[in-house]
């Protein structure tokens, strides 16, 4: 009787220890799920498919986009990545944004730093985002026309930020499968070209024709979206 009671106690202790270990390991795996791309928690089938690709494969896919010497090809590769993986393209830290790449050393450093600082603005809501852009471009006044000092430089920085904003919209539309990556690549390539001109100190006269080309590209994208959504036009 005494021996069976002893065995019963041992059994209870083992059960308790096993349950504690099980609880511990269960918490650990939950912590890992956020970063584990193979874990499937989503209800959206598209997201589930994307998560089956490992982090290493994603890094390799992102790295492969740098292989081409052609800018439009690199841009299209990134847009295809966004479309296929349904997530933002996070470039390698050593890679400067396209518009900064051809600048000389000092200009490139300023360009990259400005781009990094601007990232905080893109998380903000509309009115706050524009105010954030103007703050970043060193505006003292709410409107560019009221600026007295370095208005030209402020205008250049502000235009760069607005162009990035359009680029973000295009990437968002790609991610949501609303436009194809070819049309997106054409528009973003033009945006990068205009940004390069602005950064290289080109005049309004030189930039305006490219702005008109960009307007046409964006108009075509919007028409395609409208046609595919059955004419339900919305002004995005």
């Amino acid at each position: 009787m005494k021996k069976s009671l002893y065995l019963f106690n041992i059994l209870i202790i083992l059960l308790l220890v096993a349950s504690v270990i099980a609880a511990g390991s269960s918490t650990g795996s939950r912590t890992n799920t956020a970063s584990d791309p193979t874990t499937n928690f989503g209800t959206d089938e598209r997201v589930n498919t994307a998560r089956q690709i490992t982090g290493a494969e994603k890094r390799a896919a992102r790295g492969a986009c740098e292989d081409s010497d052609n800018r439009r090809t690199r841009i299209k590769c990134r847009l295809d990545y966004i479309k296929d993986n349904n997530e933002d393209f996070e470039a390698h830290y050593s890679k400067a944004p396209e518009a900064c790449r051809e600048l000389e050393k000092d200009g490139k450093g300023r360009c990259v730093a400005f781009y990094k600082k601007s990232q905080a603005c893109y998380d903000k809501k509309r009115g706050d985002k524009i105010k954030c852009f103007k703050r970043l471009a060193n505006f003292a006044k709410a409107n560019l026309k009221d600026e007295k000092e370095e208005r030209g430089l402020k205008a250049r920085d502000y235009v760069i930020l607005l162009l990035y904003d359009i680029q973000e919209k295009i990437e968002g539309a790609i991610e949501n499968d609303r436009i194809d990556s070819d049309a997106g690549a054409d528009a973003i390539d033009k945006i990068v070209e205009i940004k390069e001109d602005i950064l290289n100190g080109k005049t309004k006269r030189e930039v305006t024709p490219k702005m008109l080309q960009l307007r046409t590209l964006l108009k075509n994208i919007k028409s395609t979206i409208d046609q595919e959504s059955g004419g339900e036009s919305e002004n995005e």
């Binding site: 509309r126 009115g127 985002k129 524009i130 103007k134 709410a142 205008a155 607005l162 309004k204 305006t208």
Partner: protein, 68 residues
């Protein structure tokens, strides 16, 4: 003759003084008017008219006028 020279000198000084005073008063008027709302004083809603792609493109086109 000396008196005439003295009056010419006084006139030149008076004109110079007047120009200096009027010029500086113009500047101070301009500064005190200080056109436009300060960025930090402006409400966020004042910037909400730059939302759609068309509005952003128009804002870019307007800003290009100030490239210098």
């Amino acid at each position: 003759m000396n008196k005439i020279l003295m009056w010419i000198l006084i006139l030149i000084l008076a004109l110079g003084l007047g120009y200096f005073l009027l010029g500086s008063s113009d500047d101070s008027n301009y500064d005190s008017e200080d056109a436009g709302v300060n960025l930090e004083d402006a409400d966020d809603s004042a910037f909400e008219n730059v939302e759609s792609t068309d509005q952003i493109l128009n804002e870019i086109t307007d800003s290009l006028n100030y490239l210098g």
